[in-house]
């Protein structure tokens, strides 16, 4: 168990380092001297202005921009591990503080959407299995295809059109009361529903083919009892690692949905930092996203190992 655990932790760390190092390199190798850009942006508020070479050199010296790139990245990583993600070029505030404002919005959005998607998935899949009619199969296939094919920003715009502009039930965008969360959460959840429903359905198919189901059926248990008590719990185990992979996909959806509904979360922070060429802010946001995805994968691996003794044994031997 322990070497396995250690390997997964190392992998999670490697993922975060790889993502931030790649971002760091691309930011630094981008055209434009960082020191000059900082001076021009902050003090002159004009990107096209020219800055004297002496000023730029002094600033580069002060912020360590003249050191080799690898050393600079090492310094950033060391500071980041100590909780210092640098200062935003755009606002002059610490990046960590700004991320602290943005993160709760994204977390709430993602958790609500994931919960809604799971509830809908369970309802959809059990309904399909319990009805056991050709029409139920067709309906299931239709809903799944629609959910997978309909991009969040199209669905979101249509829902804004219907529920906000025509019916005037819900606000168009921004934050405020609970009503601002309804449309973003639904859009994000429906984006997940297609994948999770197919995965759970496949897992259930496999679980229903197991020998203990046959024996339970021979004992005369009702089909409903077979499905809900004997098959469903087993089908949920293989779903866990997929949900972690799904989390990376969810983050991509969060970026789009936050932009669409003008929510001040992590995704819109990432997009804004990119628009403003705010290097430290962008790097900090990428670090948080990579860390979240890596932790989700790690948690899923550990959860599966805890739930399924077969995997635990197989992997500790490997």
């Amino acid at each position: 168990m322990t070497p396995y655990l250690l390997r997964r932790c190392l992998l999670a760390g490697a993922t975060v380092v790889a993502a931030t190092f790649l971002t760091f390199l691309l930011l630094r190798l981008a055209p434009g001297e960082p020191a000059q850009t900082i001076l021009a942006r902050i003090f002159l508020r004009d990107l096209t202005a020219t800055v004297s070479a002496g000023d730029a050199a002094a600033l580069a010296e002060r912020y360590g921009l003249s050191a080799p790139l690898l050393v600079q990245y090492g310094r950033w990583l060391a500071a980041a591990l100590g909780g210092d993600l640098g200062v935003s070029i755009r606002s002059g505030r610490p990046v960590l503080t700004e991320l602290g404002w943005r993160l709760p919005v994204t977390l709430l959005l993602a958790l609500l959407a994931m919960a809604l998607a799971l509830v809908l998935t369970l309802a959809l899949v059990t309904a399909r299995r319990m009805l056991r009619r050709p029409l139920a199969d067709r309906g299931f296939a239709l809903i799944v295809t629609a959910c997978v094919s309909l991009p969040g920003f199209v669905l979101g715009l249509v829902m804004i059109l219907v529920f906000s502009l025509s019916l005037d039930w819900l606000p168009v965008s921004g934050t405020g009361g609970w009503s601002h969360w309804v449309l973003p959460v639904i859009v994000l959840a429906l984006g997940q529903l297609g994948f999770t429903a197919v995965l759970l359905d496949d897992a259930l198919e496999e679980a229903l083919a197991a020998a203990h189901i046959v024996s339970a059926r021979a004992r005369g248990l009702s089909e409903r009892c077979l499905l809900l008590v004997h098959a469903l719990p087993n089908a949920l185990v293989p779903l866990v690692p997929y949900l972690a992979l799904q989390f990376a996909f969810l983050v991509g959806g969060v970026v789009v949905v936050e932009r669409l509904f003008a929510l001040p979360g992590l995704g819109s922070y990432l997009a804004e930092a990119l628009d403003a060429r705010d290097g430290p802010a962008f790097l900090g946001a990428v670090a948080v996203v990579a860390l979240a995805v890596a932790l989700a994968n790690l948690a899923a691996d550990l959860l599966v190992a805890a739930l399924d003794p077969r995997i635990r044994l197989a992997r500790s031997e490997a």
């Binding site: 993502a19 996909f249 991509g252």
Partner: protein, 269 residues
Amino acid sequence: MSSRRAGIAGTVALALVLLLPIAWGLTFDPVEGALRDSLRPPGFAFPLGTDHLGRDVLARIAHGFLLDIGLSLLVVALSFGVGTALGMVAAEVAGGLDRALSLLMDVTSALPQIVVALILAVHFGGGAGTLVIALAATGWVKYARIARAATFSLREREFVMAARVAGSGRLALLRRHVLPHLLPLFGGLLALQLGHTVLNIAALGFLGVGIQPPAPEWGAMIAEARPYLARAPWLAIAPGVFLFALTALALSLARALGRRRQAMGLTAW
């Protein structure tokens, strides 16, 4: 059998519904427009109306289709080529190279595609090149995983060993005896990736880091349509419907091809 036939009929019908208007739209100009024609609702002169600059929406959708599908095919071809080659070579060479590739695959698949595209856009700016590189940089992993696993099992088969004993070089062995057996595994995945790539290109266009205006890209068109949502809803809905139809088409194709893969006794990607 009848449901299978109904599925094929549905796919063909969807393809016709999608392609006929696009063929018609290709005969119009996607960039030229007159301001006096701006925000016209759908009608005789403009089948799907006009946007805020008076450009024909159907023409823009049709030319956007060529752009989106062309770039998507490029992404799929790159992912397929790179992923298959890396997976086969890693399994054949094994050892350190294989472990390095496994690590690279794990790290790559842990990063969200959209975020990778944003990261690359920092350096290269928005545009078609960035888009293709970003999506292929994350798309190759699935092919590499399948190719690697399948090559490992093919290596042990008699005909491959026979070729090895007969003195076949490693590359020739992979090309002539392993690759032909891998190709049938990829049908469903290729169609699936095509559908996802179309969606991702549109999503990045919507975020403003993909294809830049005035090029007619579906996601960028939807982003441009947002300020006019209340006055001219067709501007956002028309490209949205085409995007939906194209993705659904790719996915139904994926399901048909994937079923054949399952029939051959091969399991999950």
